[in-house]
């Protein structure tokens, strides 16, 4: 069966330093890949390359068997939530959510009220994001997981700044995404519980 996401011989250099060499992996539907490694090992860079933002120096990436390079289909199939939340501090959480729904290729039917309540921002959704706490901002950013439909989730440090309840929320969202035959790649050194055999890990320190 053709893997959903497959990488062959990926090599990355940033600032003269090799981040990974000849990295290969294949993800089937319902699987998640956790990229581990100490700070500065290149987790974010690799994730950005998978998102099509970062420069890939060598190697090939395929989505459903087709090359991802300059592929609109690939871009529309992925949802990337970076280390920063991508929230405009002058807009409210609701406005940010609605904006991301309008520019996404496939938005879901979940309204801003519903999504933001589910991530625990019921009382804070109409405050400018600049006035939210770090944890609240992270939740607001993660609300997009509900607002946009995507087969591939690329999440950079999704658990950072979150309390136990927040982490559980992310785990449950991820679990449901995988059960619905999506794939995910996460960059985090924190352990992800409850995903069982669906979770594969990759250590960047050994891949460099």
């Amino acid at each position: 069966m053709i893997p959903q996401l497959s990488a062959q011989g990926l090599s990355l250099w940033r600032g003269g330093r090799s981040l990974c060499r000849a990295l290969s992996f294949a993800l089937q539907a319902g699987e998640a890949l956790q990229i581990q490694g100490p700070n500065g090992s290149g987790k974010t860079s690799l994730l950005r390359v998978l998102a099509g933002l970062g420069r890939l120096d060598e190697g090939e990436l395929r989505w459903h068997g087709d090359p991802t390079h300059r592929s609109l289909a690939y871009r529309n199939a992925l949802l990337y939530i970076g280390h920063q939340n991508g929230l405009k501090s002058h807009l409210t959480a609701r406005e940010n959510y609605l904006f991301y729904q309008s520019i996404a290729a496939n938005s879901s039917e979940i309204t801003a009220d519903e999504a933001l309540s589910r991530v625990g921002l019921k009382d804070a959704m109409d405050r400018p994001c600049g006035r939210l706490s770090m944890g609240q901002k992270r939740r607001a950013g993660l609300a997009r997981l509900l607002g946009v439909k995507a087969g591939l989730w690329l999440l950079d440090e999704p658990l950072s700044s979150l309390d136990a309840a927040g982490m559980e929320l992310v785990s449950s969202l991820l679990d449901r995404h995988l059960k619905e035959r999506g794939v995910a790649v996460l960059a985090t050194h924190q352990p992800l519980l409850g995903l069982g055999t669906a979770l594969r890990t990759l250590d960047l320190e050994t891949a460099a």
């Binding site: 940033r14 970062g54 920063q84 002058h90 609605l98």
Partner: protein, 222 residues
Amino acid sequence: MNALQALISRDLTIAYRRWGELMTPIMFFILVTALFPLGLSPRSELLREIAPGVVWTAALLAGLLGQESLFLSDYEDGSLEQLALARLPLEWQALARTFTHWLGAGLPLVVLSPLLGMLLQYPAAAMPELAFGLLLGTLALSLLGAIGAALTVSLKQSGMLLLVLVLPLAVPVLIFGAQSAAQAARGEDPSGALYLLAAMLVLALVLAPFAIAGALRISLES
């Protein structure tokens, strides 16, 4: 609401909520223009002669001063990455966002120009031509400045470098713009220079979005 409308609406909303920050280039424009009579001489004949050049140079510098903010905050909070992944092509985004940015940074300069012309003894009869020329010129400069902003957005201390990169490219706009204002002041027909300004604007409209989008992708690369 489609993606382009959402983007324009977002930019306008943010600009409206940050209106205080928009004041700086406008203040700069007024101050720089006022410096010339103070630094040179308040004699009317001299001021009248240098007025076209001064107003245009001040508009150029004020416009470029404000240009840095076009993409910087989006780069810093991670929105630029998301916009690069949106379903709207980056080239269209470049055009739309440069225009909304101009509404806050360039249009006020056009509106203020008669006032500043008056400070420099610029003839009132030629004010419409002055403003129209600046309309064309500030639009073209916004596009050129956006290229510079896109190239330098990921760099530290990008402001100075932006100026250094864009000023040589902006020289034709300055030359034809100031000429049109000077010709209008002398009672001559400025349409030749204005047509050339319009031609440069059209060239910028067609080519700049590609340069801006390409530069943004490169800035997001590492």
